[in-house]
């Protein structure tokens, strides 16, 4: 039994660290090289990656396709906007500290309804609930600003230590805020990595693969799905919280179903069967969308075509394709 004893912590952590740490180093250095505009773009990409990471706990690990994750992203965004306008709060830490429990609560409530179903019924329910939030944001314009949305001034960072008011604040803000997003991104990645490798995460994957058998291991399937939904919604809401200060404005568009579609798209683009898929997908999607929007007014059509081609040629996404290729090369070298 000793021969096959549980691997040491080092062996567990070495593979993800071997890829993660160089990428992290690159993400730390890049803003020094690429300028403010590109830094801002990358920050948007990190935010999208966090949104997709949260989403993929449901799709990739629990086997539930939510078509309403815009609801949670928008929930985070609007919570920040209300805190800024109605309570005069301008601290990013307070946004997060208040936004997270609010998002968790709403995710728990909506999730409780959604996880009573699976497959297409689950997808339609999530979509319907997100449409409810979207129409509320439109109709209650005296609260939400309607289609104009709500402006959010640049918050202070690190408990007020970093302040970006006044002229020339913008580039300073982008530079600092990028690192703020990066830090939150890294924390989310670590937390999520631990979750999917925990007993809980394995149970989710078991439920995804074979619900009946999971029930006959004594797992309370619906409760697991519910907790997964709660975590998923909250992480995607955190992305929304991060996004508002970057965008300076939140509009009902982030609650609208096409944005849910973008989260799905980004995840599939990167590969929902791998942990890193939604991370790569979120960043890649953000670039594709930005340049597609800039180059043609038919950008949605272009994105659609890209998705169709992707699904047909690289069904396992960017990360899946790269790791298959790497495995092939390794085998060739060993042979």
């Amino acid at each position: 039994m000793t021969a096959a004893a549980p691997s040491s912590l080092l062996r567990t952590l070495a593979p993800p660290a071997a890829i993660g740490l160089p990428v992290l180093a690159l993400l730390i250095v890049l803003p020094q090289v690429i300028g403010v505009y590109q830094t801002q773009l990358l920050a948007y990409g990190l935010v999208m990656a966090v949104a997709a990471l949260g989403f993929n706990l449901l799709l990739g690990y629990t086997g539930l396709l939510s078509f309403g994750h815009s609801a949670y992203f928008g929930l985070g965004a609007y919570t920040v906007a209300f805190l800024a306008r109605d309570l005069g709060i301008h601290s990013m830490e307070l946004y997060i500290l208040i936004g997270l429990p609010v998002s968790a609560l709403v995710s728990a409530l909506l999730g409780y309804v959604c996880v009573r179903h699976t497959r297409i019924f689950f997808g339609i329910l999530t979509l319907a609930l997100s449409q409810v939030l979207w129409s509320l944001a439109l109709k209650l314009f005296w609260v939400t600003g309607g289609t104009d949305g709500l402006r959010v001034p640049r918050p202070t960072l690190l408990a007020g230590t970093l302040n970006f008011a006044g002229s020339g604040g913008y580039p300073r803000f982008i530079n600092s805020y990028y690192y703020y997003c990066l830090a939150v991104f890294v924390i989310c990645v670590i937390v999520m990595w631990v979750i999917v490798h925990s007993p809980f995460g394995k149970a989710l994957q078991a439920i995804r693969d074979n619900e009946t058998r999971a029930r006959f291991l004594g797992l309370r399937v619906r409760r697991f799905r519910w907790i997964a939904f709660l975590i998923s919604g909250t992480v995607t809401a955190l992305a929304g919280i991060l996004w508002v200060p970057l965008n300076g404005l939140t509009t009902p568009e982030v609650l609208y179903w096409p944005f849910s579609g973008e989260i799905v798209f980004a995840t599939i683009l990167g590969g929902f069967r791998t942990f890193a898929g939604p991370l790569v997908g979120g960043i890649a999607f953000n670039y594709i969308k930005t340049y597609a929007v800039a180059s043609t007014e038919y950008w949605q059509l272009l994105l659609g075509v890209v998705l169709v081609v992707m699904v047909m040629t690289l069904p396992s996404g960017i990360v899946g394709a790269v790791s298959t290729l790497a495995a092939k090369l390794r085998r060739k070298r060993e042979a």
Partner: protein, 251 residues
């Protein structure tokens, strides 16, 4: 003493009486085979006992306690585990994880999310021990989907066994494999089950296998219990012989 007892268990699908007034007894520590032609009601009986289905009427008593209305989870907690006629594995998880999850679930640790699953030495040790007993230890890192059919059947049993049940139901653990694999699977399963002092009920079609491994044999026919006895008694039973000859048993 009877570990499990059903009383007048009844289950009907439309006009089909899948279980018709079944009084089924499993004794502590025995290796019992449940036989009968396709459609005899064997799987239905296991479904009723494991709470996969609700009976129309009748009672199920486990260790003297009425569990007729108990949920799946409650029955598993009480010590009743089962496998399925068709292999039911977690194909996207490793062989190790498939078995470890049973241990986590049984120990009430499956909701833990702040620690890595493979870092739980107690669970890992137990999961590896089970894999070793089933001869699957060297496949621990293989995805369940990547196993050969015979190995998949064994893993399927191992997943149920790792719950450390008092009573284990195996629904055709050797169906769909070659005759050689059949013997190997049954050798392994019966050895593990006997060593672990687990009471087992195995649904099996191959009568050679049944006679070789069973302490007792129960035969069902058209939803009812037709015969119940030791291998020798069953061998001498006219009704059983008629059915075996009249309707050749096959997978």
């Amino acid at each position: 003493m009877a570990l499990l007892r059903t009383e007048h268990l009844q289950k009907q699908f439309g006009n089909t009486r899948a279980c018709d007034d079944v009084n089924f007894v499993v004794n502590q520590g025995e290796f019992l085979s449940l036989v009968g032609s396709n459609g005899a009601g064997k799987t239905t009986l296991v479904n009723l006992i494991s709470a996969h289905l609700q009976p129309d009427s009748g009672q199920i008593l486990f260790e003297g306690r009425d569990i007729t209305r108990a949920s799946v989870t409650e029955r598993i907690k009480a010590g009743i585990a089962r496998s399925f006629q068709i292999v039911n594995l977690f194909d996207g998880l490793s062989v190790f994880d498939n078995v470890a999850l049973s241990v986590f679930s049984r120990d009430g640790k499956a909701t833990r999310m702040a620690a890595l699953a493979e870092r739980d030495d107690a669970v890992a040790g137990e999961a590896l021990e089970v894999l070793e007993q089933f001869g699957l230890a060297d496949k621990r890192d293989t995805m369940a989907a990547g196993l050969a059919q015979g190995e998949r059947k064994l893993l399927d049993v191992a997943v149920a066994y790792a719950l450390r049940p008092k009573l284990l139901f195996l629904d055709e653990p050797t169906s769909g494999v070659s005759t050689r694999d059949k013997a190997q699977i049954m050798d392994t399963v019966s050895a593990v089950v006997r060593a672990g002092k687990v009471t087992a009920v195995v649904i099996e079609h191959d009568m050679d296998v049944v006679f070789r491994y069973s302490d007792r044999i129960v035969m069902m026919h058209e939803g009812a219990m037709l015969a119940d006895g030791t291998p020798d008694e069953i061998r001498a039973n006219k009704d059983v012989a008629n059915i075996l000859l009249g309707a050749p048993l096959s997978d």
